[in-house]
């Protein structure tokens, strides 16, 4: 690649003038438009309360005011909601890892009758809209006495994120060279030792990706939470936030501050591991 561009550059000097400028401009414009809602969310949450209803709304901050955040954490139970979301999402991660590690191992490294059928089942559950099963799930949970139960909610989140996670982890297991596993087998490792001593240490980024996917799938989930959780003190953050939205007495800048607070964690994590996450997700989708 570098040879080609080296050989090429002297003969095409014009490329380094007009085109980059135009492209740069296009990228700048597109990014600005695309990111404007994010900017607006942040700006509205940091605007002094006196400003928040003025029209037209100023496009630049008149100074930063964190009173929305102060009000949010003192007047609204957001800390409690965030804590419950963290709890449910952590349970989802633990359950997901427990289920996904052995299954990905079986899918990636073992040969058995029914493997492709199981793969199809996973693909199939991955594509099922949650709305299709929400009513029967509610009936089932009611009969089991599992409504208003955060453990049971986490279990449901697990069921819906596990198929994708199994694919992602399978693709990282697949990437471990066969020779390493074979050598370990010859050295006398049994099947479990291959998993614990070889595969898991070598696929740590895959495990991180799976954990992040499971955590935020649960953290963001709204439909199941809203149908299964009715008690105010069991509200997770997405549920609490949605109720703030419909309560007319919530000041706008507080609502925006709540939105920002709820988004900080996923945005940070997704940005931090986006490259790896994309590789895993597309591998899961493409090699499915």
């Amino acid at each position: 690649m570098s040879h080609a561009s080296l050989a090429n550059s002297p003969s095409r000097p014009w490329r380094f003038q007009a085109e980059p400028l135009l492209r740069g401009l296009a990228i700048l414009v597109v990014s600005t438009v695309m990111l404007f809602p994010v900017y607006w969310m942040l700006l509205s949450s940091l605007r002094p309360s006196s400003d928040s209803l003025s029209f037209p709304p100023p496009l630049l901050p008149h100074g930063i005011d964190v009173s929305a955040y102060v009000q949010l954490f003192t007047d609204k139970p957001i800390a409690h909601w965030l804590m419950l979301s963290t709890l449910v999402a952590s349970l989802t991660v633990v359950a997901t890892l427990i289920l996904v590690i052995p299954a990905a191992y079986a899918l990636s490294r073992l040969y058995w009758a029914g493997r492709s059928a199981f793969g199809l089942l996973l693909l199939f559950t991955q594509m099922m809209p949650a709305a299709v099963v929400v009513a029967p799930i509610l009936m089932l949970y009611r009969s089991l006495g599992w409504t208003d139960n955060l453990w049971a909610l986490a279990l449901l989140h697990t069921a819906f994120v596990v198929p994708l996670c199994a694919w992602v982890l399978k693709s990282s297991f697949d990437a471990v060279p066969k020779e390493i596993v074979e050598a370990a087998l010859i050295d006398g490792c049994d099947r479990w030792k291959v998993l614990w001593l070889i595969l898991l240490p070598l696929t740590r980024p895959g495990l991180v990706a799976v954990s992040v996917i499971a955590f935020f799938a649960s953290w963001n989930e709204y439909l199941f939470a809203s149908t299964l959780i009715t008690k105010n003190d069991l509200y997770t953050a997405s549920l609490g936030l949605a109720t703030l939205m419909t309560q007319l007495d919530t000041p706008l800048f507080v609502l925006m501050a709540a939105g920002v607070t709820f988004s900080v964690l996923p945005v940070f994590f997704y940005m931090a591991i986006q490259r790896h996450l994309l590789r895993g997700l597309t591998a899961g989708a493409v090699k499915g």
Binding site: P37, P57, A103, A131, V132, L140, R191, N220, Q274, V286
Partner: protein, 307 residues
């Protein structure tokens, strides 16, 4: 790297050795023990509810019957919902791929700060749906929303449209927001597909005298067509599954103008408490997803064979 795993039935030496070693942990049952917990969970919380829902759809006052389906198929509201779902899904699909690809093409040029742009574009994808809905609802507010002030600035109109009260505009809004939240993923995947198209092909095309447009048509497009096809199916799934954004932004309204499949099922079940009718719609949703899955698997098989 092996894209397709060794087919069952082709006994490689490694496999024979592996089989011999299986005895250490036990037996042929080993792989089944590994998948059992997951199988149980998926069976109980996905497959069983689908079957239960299908049964709901057959339950009527006089025992099991197809009455729900009969009334569904003659219900103009059902067909309207199907039409709304198709409009929504196809628009999201086309827009997300078009925007995703344009942006990927822009970013395929190396420039300073590309990494930063790439990271920033992850943001809409990473923001949870509930805050996304809140942000857009506030931005669209006809009296104090920022869109209104943009409109006034650019068109001089003093009245802002009632974005969420007009059926066409509301549809436009939910499509836009769904695309906005989803496009970074498609863009970033397409970017990596673009980067895997070999430079030599562009070289050859240039030597043959191909211009920018014909390079795009004859080199770029064929090089990423597999990825594009898969992303089209993923976007289809993403949009048919969409509930939260639509529900929180329009509630399916005004007058059902944005009621796609997922909100329709939800409303039948939890607003009208008509579980059996909701079940019938859910079966339709299930069939749509099953067809999409089959389509997806077919494409993927074909791609694997091509490689």
């Amino acid at each position: 790297m092996a894209l397709a795993p060794a087919l069952p039935g082709t006994a490689t030496p490694a496999r024979r050795r592996a089989k011999a070693r299986n005895g250490v942990v036990g037996s042929r049952a080993f792989p089944y023990l590994l998948i059992l917990p997951m199988l149980a969970l998926e069976g109980a919380l996905v497959v069983f509810p689908i079957l239960r829902g299908a049964l709901f759809s057959l339950e009527t006052e006089d025992g099991l019957s197809l009455d729900n389906y009969r009334s569904m198929l003659v219900d103009p509201d059902f067909w309207r919902m199907i039409r709304t779902t198709l409009i929504f899904t196809l628009s999201v699909d086309i827009a997300i791929l078009a925007i995703g690809l344009s942006l990927a093409l822009l970013m395929n040029w190396s420039f300073r700060g590309r990494g930063l742009v790439r990271s920033l574009l992850t943001i809409p994808w990473a923001i949870p749906e509930v805050p996304v809905a809140i942000t857009f609802v506030l931005m669209l507010d006809p009296s104090f929303g920022v869109f209104n002030s943009f409109l006034r600035f650019f068109t001089g109109a003093s009245e802002s449209p009632q974005w969420l009260l007009d059926p066409v505009l509301a549809m436009l809004v939910v499509i836009t927001v769904t695309v906005w939240k989803g496009f970074p993923f498609y863009s970033l995947v397409l970017l990596s597909a673009l980067q895997s198209v070999p430079d030599e092909l562009y070289e050859a095309a240039r030597i043959d005298g191909a211009g920018k447009i014909s390079q795009f048509r004859h080199v770029t497009l064929p090089g990423i067509s597999g990825t594009l096809a898969l992303l089209a199916v993923l976007a289809f799934i993403y949009s048919t599954q969409q509930f939260t954004l639509i529900w929180l932004i329009t509630g399916g309204g005004p007058v059902d103008a944005t009621t796609t499949l997922a909100p329709a099922i939800y409303m039948q079940a939890f607003r009208f408490y008509n579980f059996s009718y909701a079940g019938a719609i859910a079966v339709v949703g299930f069939l749509i997803s099953a067809i999409a899955t089959t389509f997806f698997v077919t494409i993927q098989r074909r791609l694997e064979m091509r490689e």
